[in-house]
């Protein structure tokens, strides 16, 4: 393949020029296919799931962006949409669902609670699902309007189209849990989970 390309190389231009163009073509084809046929795995735990349903229904209709088929099974899904707060009791569940999804896979964290813990800065709630699974797009809002989720999906399209199969860096590695059973170093989890905004004033005064 390479020899063919080099023999056809136009004089005066780098032989890598056509190869790079070919790679771009392959990337374009693969990424467009991936981006325009995302199968979402809805992980709806709270009111964000209602907005998610509105996004899927006819008025906003994210089938327009290639998300026609919702995969209620992780093995047939491309993008995990965590819509709603995540209690610690559900943390191993979403982690297993993420592990069961085939590559390539993406995660959208929908809403304030999934992204940061939101108003639930308490003993029972995961302070951001990025302490459990890697997240590609965070959609803010409480809950986000369907337009917000659609914008997040379009940002994910953009991100997918910027990826390359020929990167030396494996972007889509599995990111398994380390031997401590965590995705991130403990200090980082503590830092991410620190109270911010109004919740720094929230303590139980006994």
């Amino acid at each position: 393949m390479k020899r063919v390309i080099e023999s056809k190389a136009v004089a005066g231009q780098s032989p890598n020029y056509l190869l790079a163009k070919l790679q771009d073509l392959v990337d374009w084809a693969v990424n467009s296919s991936r981006a325009n046929s995302l199968w979402p795995m809805p992980f709806g735990t709270a009111c964000c799931a209602i907005e998610f349903m509105a996004t899927a229904a006819s008025r906003y209709d994210f089938a327009r962006f290639g998300m026609e088929r919702q995969a209620f099974s992780p093995r047939q899904a491309d993008v995990l949409i965590c819509a709603g707060r995540l209690p610690f009791k559900l943390a191993p569940v979403i982690r297993r669902i993420y592990d069961q999804m085939p590559q390539p896979k993406w995660v959208i964290s929908m809403g304030a609670c999934a992204s940061t813990g939101g108003i639930f800065d308490n003993y029972a709630m995961v302070q951001g699902i990025d302490t459990i699974v890697p997240v590609d797009v965070y959609v803010p809002g409480c809950p986000p309007r369907p337009e917000g989720l659609l914008y997040g999906v379009l940002l994910l399209h953009k991100k997918i189209k910027g990826e390359s199969l020929f990167d030396r860096v494996p972007r889509r590695d599995e990111q398994p849990l380390d031997d401590r059973g965590l995705r991130l170093p403990p200090e980082q989890i503590d830092e991410i989970s620190e109270p911010f905004g109004n919740s720094i004033h929230q303590f139980r005064s006994a």
């Binding site: 610690f88 009791k89 943390a91 191993p92 569940v93 982690r95 297993r96 800065d121 308490n122 003993y123 029972a124 995961v126 302070q127 302490t131 459990i132 849990l177 401590r180 059973g181 965590l182 403990p186 200090e187 989890i189 503590d190 991410i192 989970s193 109270p195 929230q202 303590f203 139980r204 005064s205 006994a206």
Partner: protein
């Protein structure tokens, strides 16, 4: 004031504490030792027939002098009458209360919830384990006033423990309705279920 209170006093005497009316509801305080007898009497006496246990909950007040309360909301479906029965407990002392599951089967999960959130053990409960938090939860009882809002462990430790949990371990085989299908399960799931048929209960505080 609900006439049941006078009937209770006539029957049980000193075991019945003070009674008051709040927002149209009658609240009557009952001694802990007489609870099971009082409840059985309230359910079975023809003039009372409190056949429906609406809810069991507990209260801990910010005022540390005030006792912990277990609250029983009773309703008589035939007489359309309500009665709220409270049991006072010394937070420093023994918290054990008699279980009323033998009277109302529906008290099973309600008492488990009170146990989970307040650490009040119910004597005679058929299956007393945590219901909302996972069974291996070791940080204490979340609705007690001495429990910090964000839990006792660091966030990293909480995440670690949560990720180490086996979701199947929260349930018994019967609850998963797969007891009869056990032989057909994949090997790894069998293994997990064998390990986690019941979680380990944390040591009480």
């Amino acid at each position: 004031m609900n006439p049941s209170v006078d009937a209770l006093r006539a029957t049980f005497g000193p075991a019945i504490g003070r009674a008051l009316e709040s927002c149209g509801d009658t609240i009557v305080y009952v001694g802990r030792d007489a609870l099971l007898d009082v409840m059985a009497w309230l359910r079975d006496t023809p003039q009372q027939t409190y056949d429906y246990l609406v809810d069991i909950t507990a209260v801990e007040y910010r005022d540390r002098e005030r006792p912990l309360e277990v609250v029983y909301n009773l309703r008589s479906l035939t007489r359309r009458a309500d009665l709220r029965v409270k049991v006072e407990l010394d937070p420093q002392g023994d918290l054990t209360v008699d279980s009323v599951v033998s009277l109302w089967r529906g008290a099973d999960w309600l008492e488990r919830e009170v146990y989970d959130m307040f650490g009040i053990p119910f004597r005679g409960h058929p299956d007393l384990r945590r219901i909302l938090m996972w069974e291996t939860y070791a940080e204490g009882y979340p609705l007690r006033k001495d429990f910090p809002l964000r839990g006792r462990f660091s966030r990293a430790e909480q995440v670690r423990q949560a990720l180490a949990a086996q979701p199947e371990a929260h349930y018994s085989l019967e609850e998963l309705s797969i007891a009869e299908a056990y032989e057909e399960l994949p090997a790894d799931m069998k293994e997990r279920l064998r390990h986690g048929e019941r979680g380990r209960l944390p040591d009480s505080e």
